[in-house]
């Protein structure tokens, strides 16, 4: 039982980083209804800008974090302009394949400038463990969890208390109606992308900081963890993205402990597959999915 709870704690801690990635994914998907496969690689590029600042100018944590976020936002804007803004609304598949081509491009750019397998990254905290009764918590995981929680609250304020948030929600609910209300969809999409990339940048800083090293494979990893967590939670739902991320973290921690490392990803994908078959709306998106299905039945 102690093991089980310890795994849950570890899972929630790791899951909070998945949740951040999933929120970025879900923001973009909610606004565009198109999938950005380049999301992971663009924040990976940002993290390498951070590494550059760390290695070249010997700057500390905060400067690296800022550089990572700036790099991620710039890469994200590049992707948005090339793969989403320039391709007309109807061609969702073309956007997705285009974002995949840009993924390959970003990965190659990084490997040209950083040919080694791994590079150091400023660690988030020294490796101390905090003991609470029979349970252990790592300090860096606690920081990650706190940052994720804080960012979620900030995002919630931004989405529900500002004009921009209102516009963003309007666009994701019904783009045409939003346009009739005088909302500039292109601009909202652009800023949603920038916001998602900034969130991704913070997530990348926190995740890579826990490992204290970075590889170009981070892009692939981030895209798939974010995607799975988003799908588990329900596409386009922010509370869903958080729950999905935490669930993914817990399932991975439990399956690693009880079945072994080689079963970790298998369990995650099996869970995703079962969710898609039996509950395609995910944890939180079920209402929207049901509504859509009911509408189709009526037609």
């Amino acid at each position: 039982m102690v093991d089980f709870i310890q795994n849950c704690l570890d899972g929630v801690m790791v899951g909070s980083s998945y949740a951040l990635l999933a929120i970025g994914f879900t923001l973009i998907f909610g606004v565009m209804r198109r999938l950005n496969l380049s999301y992971g690689p663009s924040i990976m590029l940002g993290a390498f800008v951070g590494t550059l600042v760390y290695l070249e100018f010997q700057m500390g944590g905060f400067a690296v974090a800022v550089a990572t976020v700036i790099g991620a936002v710039l890469a994200g804007i590049y992707v948005e302009r090339l793969c989403f803004w320039a391709i007309r609304q109807g061609a969702a598949v073309a956007s997705m394949v285009s974002s995949f081509a840009i993924w390959m491009q970003l990965e190659e750019i990084v490997t040209v400038f950083f040919p080694e397998r791994t590079y150091p990254f400023p660690p988030l905290a020294d490796r101390t463990a905090i003991e609470i009764g029979p349970f252990f918590l790592k300090l860096e995981n606690l920081i990650m969890f706190a940052c994720a929680a804080g960012l979620t609250v900030l995002l919630q304020v931004l989405l529900y208390r500002t004009r921009f948030g209102l516009a963003l929600r309007a666009v994701s609910e019904n783009p045409r109606a939003a346009r009739f209300m005088g909302i500039n969809i292109g601009r909202v999409t652009f800023w949603a992308f920038a916001l998602a990339s900034a969130l991704g940048g913070v997530a990348a800083y926190l995740i890579i900081g826990t490992d204290a090293q970075i590889t170009p494979l981070f892009g692939l990893w981030a895209t798939f963890k974010g995607l799975i967590a988003m799908m588990l939670g329900g596409m386009g739902s922010i509370p869903g993205a958080i729950l999905g991320g935490l669930l993914l973290g817990v399932v991975e921690a439990q399956s690693t402990w009880y079945l072994g490392t080689e079963y970790r990803d298998l369990a995650a994908y099996a869970l995703l597959f079962l969710f898609l078959v039996f509950r395609p709306g995910g944890l939180m998106g079920q209402v929207a999915a049901e509504r859509e299905r009911a509408a189709l039945r009526r037609v």
């Binding site: 073309a94 394949v97 995949f100 081509a101 080689e262 298998l266």
Partner: protein, 302 residues
Amino acid sequence: MDPYLVSVLSNIGMISFIALSAYLLLLTGEISFGQQAYFAISAYGSGIATAMWGWPFWAGLLWGATLAGLAATLVAIPTLRLRGLYFSIATLAFAEMVRLVFEIFTYQVEIDGELVGPDGSDGFRDIRYIYDSNVTAFEYMLVIYGLLALVLIGFFVLERARLGSVFRMIGEDPMLTEMQGLNATAYKVLAAAMAGVIAGIGGGLYAHLTTYVEPKIFNVMLGVHSLAYGLIGGLGTALGPLLGVGIDIGFLESIRAISGYRMIVFGGLVAVLLIIRPRGILDEATVHWLRRRWRRWIHAQD
């Protein structure tokens, strides 16, 4: 022929099968990230048949393709109820599950004092049927292209037959198809099964050419690439995906001089191409135009 050229052409041929399989599903409007799963299932299945059970090559290939088709049907039945992106992610999840199972899957028998068979993440060595029967690389390339030609003929017949029209109609508007009294889901399952068999032929050919398969070849990159080929080359004709494969593998091989920057150039090119032509180079309108020109030219000759 130059052995290097033969190996490049063989590669193009084999990858064309998986690109065609993703293309067939694209016709029905479904985006699959997971065709590599059927490629993998057949690569292992046919490899096990020839290397471990001593089956002849053609029987092994048939067996692998059948297995792939069966797996595709079984996956299609629960997942094709899902719409759009949900289906894409479900295929992705299934393909990754297949890859991860092959990472664990071990099944070996002793043949001539040596252990043969899939060995988890170490892969499956010694699928030596082609080499043991003294088939040269050139002859094997002819086998690949012969089968590819058969599949292409199948596609051309399909385009002219009612089934092809139904597939394209489902891709345009599934609801309208249902209103014509056609069962769109059943047709989609059929398309998925056919796509599985096509990917399976490619997988069986692949395993016997390289003599060695390992799970990590069948990762999601292969799946997304094969999807991209159809979209780069064009969705108007089955030659589209082949053009896509030719551009990717042929082009990348021919500009080795700028190796290290290839994906930077190629990724940018593809992105720009998709802005200009969101349905690929040979899209429906272009194919239609070409056909008209061709007919007019034929008439002018008379």
